[in-house]
Symmetry: C2
């Protein structure tokens, strides 16, 4: 869990990362579990959760706390925003790098030491409306 910890290369880890990186969707842990299971039928849900957590901590992937109840994961570790469909729950990327100054602005309105921010959009995807 600390900085010096290097993760071992296990089959489970490899396949999990591979499956996550090859989709454009932003799957939940359970969706990923189903995907990986096709290649590793004996993998457990617990392993999926543990590895997603570890890989997120190590900056290899992103854990998204988007709207719904389940967390979602993104194989693209670079910072970017997301839009979520209110009807079908689909989550898309959003290339909106322009406003990196929100944190600067926010700093002027609080005595908190701002470390990061999260911005999520919600609406209707082209299919749903």
């Amino acid at each position: 869990m600390s900085l010096g910890t290097s993760l071992r290369v296990t089959k489970q880890r490899q396949v999990l990362l591979d499956e996550l990186c090859k989709v454009r969707s932003h799957p939940t842990a359970d969706e990923l579990y189903q995907m990986v299971r096709r290649r590793l039928p004996r993998i457990s849900l617990g392993t999926v959760y543990r590895n997603l957590e570890l890989m997120a901590e190590n900056g290899m992937i992103q854990k998204l706390a988007v709207g719904g109840t389940q967390k979602r994961f993104d194989g693209n570790a670079a910072p970017h925003y997301h839009v979520r469909c209110l009807k079908c729950d689909r989550v898309d990327d959003l290339d909106l790098s322009l406003e990196l100054d929100v944190e600067q602005k926010a700093r002027k309105h609080t005595d908190f030491t701002i470390v990061r921010h999260s911005l999520e959009f919600a609406g209707l995807c082209p299919e749903c409306c």
Copy 2:
């Protein structure tokens, strides 16, 4: 649950709203339960959840999906942003009305019909750092 539905005025509802509105913090359902229980010892957690949900739907209060595992509630129904302390989990308001154009900007980068957005800041409160 629909527009025509007007909520009945019950003691539970009154006290709950009153307690929520008189604090500046952004309590979780359980914290609110503890607060209300001092005045209505027989109220149940279920009632607290049901009413918070209903009042949020009716725009009387706000349900916040901020960072952590538990949802938080805000007696101030007017749209505004929040900062959350990464250490003690305290949540403060943020008067940052300046950038109402984020949605406009976002619209240019997606084919979703954007309805709303949520923006949350995280950092360290003055007490924690």
